[in-house]
């Protein structure tokens, strides 16, 4: 497109319009270049902000994971409470068994007492037997003296006293036999006494051992009480842990809410960026329309000038 020199005749041409169009085309090119740069920058902003959004989302997810971790700790802590409850239950069961054992032992102790009393009665009876046997020996001795006296009197009586002497001899034999029998009974009673003493000593020892066992049972019961108390103490620790976790979760939730708000703000910014970006894309279509229209002006002017 040639630009004619200014003259009176040329002032009537449309060449100045061509000049204006060409200038506008130059401005349009510069504008488009600027638009390319702007879109590039906007693309970079969009990309960078996308990264911010992504990182923010990652952080939010991490916080969410944290919250999950706290929940897990709480769950584990609650399991600990369950273990504590199991301990309580087991201790309670064992204490029940110990109580039963103690009760049974006390019954055994009562039986030992009864046995002791029976032995005492038995001892008294033995003593009575001994006394009776002493009297029997004494009677046997008197009978022996009597039979001796009777023998002497029978000898004095002579022939008439022979039968009586025989009877007196048999009485003497009987009394000797009684004494022998009493001696045997005494020996047996002595053995019984000796066995009884041993049995008594054993019962005493067993009784003593039983009493010691009862003391141990009481001590065991007390130890289980201490275990229960200790488990109860653990419960308060668990409650404290749960409290700390709840507190942390609450703070974490506040932090998450903050990030949620931040994410909403980020999303809004991203929406604006996308809207600006979208507007930029419609501008490119407008530039095309402008360009398509402006490109037609020079040929039209040429056509006009050609007449």
């Amino acid at each position: 497109m040639k630009f004619r020199k200014k003259s009176q005749q040329e002032e009537k041409t449309l060449d100045p319009i061509v000049y204006v169009v060409e200038s506008l085309q130059g401005y349009r090119s510069a504008l488009i270049q600027s638009e390319v740069d702007s879109l590039h920058e906007l693309s970079m902003v969009r990309h960078s902000f996308g990264n911010v959004l992504h990182d923010s989302e990652s952080l939010r997810e991490s916080l969410s994971d944290f919250e999950q971790t706290f929940s897990s700790i709480n769950t584990v802590s609650a399991q600990f409470a369950s273990v504590k409850d199991n301990i309580f239950e087991s201790v309670s069961q064992v204490q029940g068994k110990v109580e039963t054992l103690k009760s049974s032992s006390l019954q055994v102790a009562n039986h030992f007492e009864e046995m002791q009393s029976t032995f005492d009665t038995f001892q008294l009876s033995l003593n009575e037997i001994r006394k009776c046997m002493g009297r029997i020996v004494s009677i046997a001795d008197q009978t022996n003296i009597l039979s001796l006296n009777a023998s002497i009197e029978a000898a004095r009586a002579g022939e008439q006293g022979k039968g009586f002497a025989t009877v007196a001899g048999e009485i003497k034999s009987l009394s000797e036999e009684i004494k022998n029998l009493v001696s045997m009974v005494d020996s047996s009673v002595g053995e019984v006494e000796s066995g009884t003493d041993q049995l008594h000593a054993s019962i005493q020892t067993s009784h003593q051992a039983l009493e010691e066992s009862l003391t141990k049972v009481d001590e065991t019961y007390a130890m289980f009480d201490k275990i229960t108390q200790a488990a109860g103490g653990a419960e308060s620790v668990q409650t404290e842990i749960s409290g700390v976790i709840d507190d942390s979760k609450s703070k974490l939730h506040t932090l998450s809410s903050f990030f949620e708000k931040m994410k909403n703000h980020y999303d809004t910014v991203m929406q604006h960026i996308n809207r600006v970006s979208s507007m930029g894309t419609t501008k490119s279509a407008m530039y095309e329309d402008i360009d398509n229209m402006m490109a037609q002006i020079p040929p039209i002017i040429d056509d006009y000038n050609a007449g």
Partner: protein
Amino acid sequence: MRQFFGMSPSGNLEEALHGLKDPQLIMLLSNNEQFEDHVKKLESLFPGVPSIGCIGMSYDVRVVEKGVGVIAYYDGINAVANVLEHVSVMPVKYIGRLQKDIHSIKSSGRDTVCIDFCSGNDACVLTTIYSALQRSNISLVGGTGDGGKVSANGKVYEDAVAYALIKNLNGKVKAYKENIYHQLGNYRFVASGTDKANYRLGQLNGKPAKQVYQNILHVTEEQISTQTFKNPFGKINGNDTCIISIKEVSGNSLTCFRQVNDSDVLILLELGDYRQIVRDTIQTIKNDFQRISAVFSVNCLFRYLLFTDHHYMKDYLMDMSTLGHHAGLVGYGEHYNNRFVNQSMTCVVFE
């Protein structure tokens, strides 16, 4: 209103016109060898009836590849046909024709559509035509024909756009655009180093376009021109995405089937579930219309090739026919309002 579709695989126009009576608008879809003859014969058979035409394949429930197809409207429309010439340099010189036609058809906007057949420089043509149409809220649907020729009212034009304004006297009309691709990854490019006259795309985010395309899709230079069936570019325009096909590699640049401008924001696309997308489009149209009189569509040649390759073309046409009477053109570029797109389907639905 009613839509007529007649065809002759052998290119016999009388056969294609068999049964057509009292048309109010005729659209001729002919072949390279017979186009001029068909235009002349059509005008002699229906003198004074508004008509537009171009070279291209046509279809209703089957495709006419090399013969002739005729789409006509009758019974309940007002129509006018005309042409803008010198579209490669100054279609706006003839904008007065369109303005006069818009005025004469007394459109209410929602009852009128403009259908255009263009021979080239589509983006400039659409800017020009739509600048007039949008003032009356008239939608535009159209496409690019083959051979650099179009016809209007019995005359063949080169370097021109033929248009028809159709007013539906019995209800509304609505235009649609269908995209069977969706964004691949999160790539977003600002185009630069473009040559809009030769449809060249020099750089994407400051790097050679060819290298960027190859690096992402791992294809050889030779594979690029066929890879476009799977992965064309998408030009972002607000909430809309306009598909741009790649024609060939030119040095480190990519030559496309549509002009790319500096500062255009592009994304990479990949083929979606086209059967489902078509079903969705059909459902959208059914939701918008209680009663459909006719559907006219323009399907990109690339879509035709893709659907044919995937043995889907026949099913596609059968699916579209569930809307009602459906016919259309296989184009070299599709028009939707002021947007010139590739690998797409645009259509207008008449109530």
